[in-house]
Every structure is written in C-alpha cells, then in structure tokens.
C-alpha cells in the first residue's frame, strides 16, 4: 500500500487542484488584509477580490444581484441563516426526508421552540422527490420549501426546476441546498424560480473548508440572525440592513473567498457537465463491479442518469464502520461510513442505525482507483 485512494469527495474534495492551492496562498500572502475595512489601497484591493467572487457566484447560480451573495462558513451555516431568517412565528415549512441534518435540525429546533410546524415529503423507491407531493404538502401558512439538489446518500439529483415552478405558483419561497451538487449540476435561480441557494465551497467547487454562502433572490427577504461589525454605517447601533452586509457580521474569510474564487475558475475551465459525466462514470463502474458481489446491497440506482457520482452500500454481516476501517487499514481506501448526517434516508432504506458505506469519487479519482475498491470489497466479502 503506497498511496491513499480517496473516495470521500462527497464529504470534501481531496486533494484540491494544485492551481487552487497555489493561487490561494500566493494571493493571500500578497493581499491578505481586512477587506473593505481600511482606506489604504491594499484593503480596497482585497475588497475587490471579495466583490469579484460575489459576481462569479451570482453568475454561477443564475442570480440577478451579486450584492445578494452572502458569504458564510459552509452550507450548514448558510441554511441556518436562510431558514431562521425567513420563517416567522406560526409559519409552516415543507421539506423532505432526503435532507441532511443541516436542514432537519434547524427545522426541529424551530418546531421545538414553538415557532413553526413542518412536514417532510418522502422520497420514492429510487430516491427522488415528486414535485406533486411538494405541492400537495403546501398549506396556506407555508412560507418556505427546503429541498436538497442532490442527496448525499442516494446521489439522486432532484427536479428542482419543477419544484421551483410549483413553489412559484403557490407563492412560496424555495430554498435549495446545493452542498452535494454545486460544481456538478447546473442551477438557474432566476429561470427555475429559486428563492435562495445555500452552497459550500469545499466540495465540488474545489475550494477550501470554511467557506460557503447563501445566494438570495431579490424577491426574498431574510431577517438577520446575527449582528456586528460590517465595515459600513458604523455610527448606528442597528445592524446594517442592506445586502450583503445584512447577513454578514465580522471580518470575512478572505482566504476562503480567494480559494473559492479560484475553485470556480477551475470548475469553469473543466466544465460542470464534463466533471459530472466523469464522476458519474466512475460511480457506474463501481456499481457494476459491486453488483457482482452477492453480500453487497447498493442503495438505489447510482449508475442511472440524474445521479451525482456516489454509491452507498451495505455488506451483509459487516458493520459499516468496521467495513470502512478495513478498507482504510488493509487496502488504503478512504470512504465514509455511518448515517452521513441524513438519518431519515437510512431509516427509509432500512439501514438505520448503523448506516452504510459511501464511496464518492472526485476530480482526481481514476478507473484504477475504482478497480481497487471493487477488488477490496470482493476480498472482504470472501474473507
């Protein structure tokens, strides 16, 4: 065993493209001051980098206003900003059982606090949400629908455009979690009637950890839930009301923003469609190999169209955590075991509470890596 085979890119892409790391370090070394807080040129230059990145993000998601690109720590942070800032006492929220705890826990918290009620729409046998079921769950007091664009367990790409149309017809804001899809699957906020998009930089966007954000459509208003310095209007004790400062407080993660910007450049050069096709192809190769092993159960149909490149499995009589430990210790293959912070998916798939093992190829995975993973799983099953 000489080199790690990293198949946990759905958790975070690793390694990052060398061009991203090098450009991030070089730029930060040169311009790493507090952006927009000082009157000196270097601060203005740092602020320009921030604004350029807002513009890239807005174009990437088809958002009309770059000033409504708000930086956050990650998708979970952005989802909290959106959910807690949109709902009001007495509101109802519709979401799905496919969601990550980054959605489920804020909703559960708000319900426990007596602020909202919510309903979760189940997914079908293949892991897809039916837009009709979303529409049918909407009540007169529903203010928000929250849906993931790609499941982090099933890999299924959800029909966001159709869901957006239904939400628009009902006058309800659609918030989309793109943690698993941004950089792999296109999304057009304006054309698809999406009210807000939460994204993270460290997955398929190939940026570093610690940077993500929320993109807010001009038709949607989000109340701030954290307050502090914004670098503007300092005389006021009331938090700045204009975007993006409305939802940002404190010095921005400039290093992360620079890395995100270079990650977007990398994605743009590669092409979202070709990256997805390549990773989905590797997932298909993995599925074909694993289906030949009797003791393995594959969740859904990851090799089918409308899937990002990830495959979740269980092996008969093997605890998923032990299976992952064996893959790492004996074969040098890094995967993610457990519930993947999506417990309701595993309940629906009958794999709760132990969960499963998720293989997720990334930008630097090869067909040889997948062959090695198949051979390792076959060896474990035979042992």
């Amino acid at each position: 065993m000489t080199q790690l085979i990293y198949l946990d890119n759905a958790a975070t892409t690793f390694p990052k493209p060398r061009s991203v790391i090098e450009a991030m370090c070089e730029t930060y070394q040169r311009v790493g001051v507090s952006p927009g807080r000082g009157s000196y040129d270097l601060s203005s230059e740092a602020q320009s980098l921030v604004e350029q990145t807002r513009g890239k993000i807005a174009r990437f998601f088809g958002a009309p206003d770059p000033e409504r690109v708000v930086f956050a720590a990650n998708a979970t942070d952005a989802l909290n900003l959106a959910i807690q800032g949109i709902v009001q006492p007495g509101d109802h929220v519709v979401s799905t059982t496919l969601e990550h705890n980054s959605v489920l826990r804020p909703l559960a918290h708000l319900q426990a606090a007596g602020v909202i009620g919510y309903d979760l729409v189940p997914f079908d046998d293949r892991g897809f949400i039916d837009p009709d079921n979303i529409e049918n769950a909407i009540r007169p007091n529903t203010r928000l629908v929250v849906v993931t664009q790609a499941s982090n367990v099933m890999g299924t790409i959800q029909p966001i455009e159709a869901i957006g149309r239904r939400c628009s017809e009902k006058g309800v804001c659609l918030l989309v979690d793109t943690a698993q899809s941004a950089g792999l699957v296109p999304l057009d906020m304006t054309a698809w009637h999406v009210g807000a998009v939460a994204f993270t930089g460290h997955k398929a966007l190939c940026g570093p950890t610690g940077i993500g954000g929320l993109v807010v459509h001009p038709d949607v208003d989000i109340q701030p839930t954290r307050f502090g310095g914004t670098g503007v209007d300092s005389k006021s004790l009331v938090h700045t009301g204009t975007y993006p400062h409305r939802l940002e407080a404190g010095t921005l993660n400039l290093m992360g923003i620079i890395g995100l910007s270079h990650g977007l450049d990398h994605i743009g050069a590669e092409g979202v469609g070709s990256i997805l096709a390549r990773e989905a192809g590797l997932a298909g190769q993995l599925c074909r190999g694993l289906r030949a092993i009797d003791s393995i159960r594959i969740f859904g149909e990851p090799e089918a169209a409308d899937h990002v490149g990830l495959v979740t499995v269980t092996m008969k009589d093997k605890h998923p955590q032990d299976l992952a430990d064996i893959l790492d210790g004996d074969f040098g293959i890094a995967v993610r075991a457990g519930l993947h912070c999506a417990p309701l998916v595993h309940i629906a798939m009958g794999s709760y509470p132990d969960g499963g093992v998720r293989f997720s190829p990334g930008p630097f995975s090869t067909a040889g890596d997948i062959d090695a993973a198949i051979a390792a799983m076959a060896a474990i099953a035979r042992f």
């Binding site: 093997k318 605890h319 998923p320 955590q321 032990d322 430990d325 064996i326 790492d328 210790g329 004996d330 993610r336 075991a337 457990g338 519930l339 993947h340 912070c341 509470p353 132990d354 969960g355 060896a379 474990i380 042992f383």
Partner: protein, 121 residues
C-alpha cells in the same frame, strides 16, 4: 459469566447506564461503551465478551485487548487503523472476524475503550 446487576439509567444522563459487574459500578453509554476506561478489569472484559457471544477469550483476544488498552493509555486516544494493523501484526479483516461485534463494537468495547466520536451514529 461474572455477576452483573441490573442496568439502571443514570440520573441526569438519560443516555448513560450504570451496571454492576464483578462488584464494580460501571457507567456505560447508550451503545454499551464504558465511559471510564480505568473502571475496566479482566473480569469485566470476560463479562462483556460473553454478553457479545464470545464465551471464552483466547490468547489472541487478550493480545488485542491489551494492545488497545496500552495504546489508549500511552497516547490518550484509541489506535488508528494503521496502528492496529502494525501493532497487532494482523489484518483488520482478521481482527474484525475475531470478535463477534467486530472491531469497534466488539474488540474496542470489550477492551473498555470509550465510544468513538464519529458520525456513525
């Protein structure tokens, strides 16, 4: 099997249980891992092993248990996968097969190490 009293929820900690094994009151978490590895004894190990479907611990089992405990108390954490493989001179496949509960819920639990704080549960 050594004497074991009934399992009781721990006041103020609904996910913890206190059990009396071999005359000791031992705190376990909701998944049956010991909260305090220093409460462990060989008698406790034999009891936990028997509960897991392993009526007798052989020399290899004891080597695994002792390695895990020595490593834990020396390094302040459980051995990583590569440490287990090199330290025990056996594959993790073999280690997994050695204990009915496997590596984490078998060997680690019988060795009295705390529950690994991963996203598994």
């Amino acid at each position: 099997m050594t004497d074991a009293g009934p399992s009781r929820p721990m006041s103020g900690h609904p996910n913890r249980k206190v059990r009396e094994i071999d005359g000791r009151r031992i705190v376990f978490d909701g998944k049956g891992f010991m909260r305090h590895p220093e409460d462990w004894s060989e008698a406790v190990a034999r009891h936990l092993a028997e509960e897991s479907g392993l009526p007798e611990l052989n020399q290899t089992h004891w080597q695994v248990i002792q390695f895990m405990r020595d490593y834990y108390f020396y390094h302040g954490r459980a051995p990583m996968n590569r440490d287990l493989k090199s330290g025990l001179n056996m594959t993790l496949m073999a280690l997994e097969a050695l204990f009915p509960g496997g590596i984490r819920e078998g060997a680690r639990r019988v060795a009295g190490l705390p529950n690994p704080k991963s996203c598994a549960g």
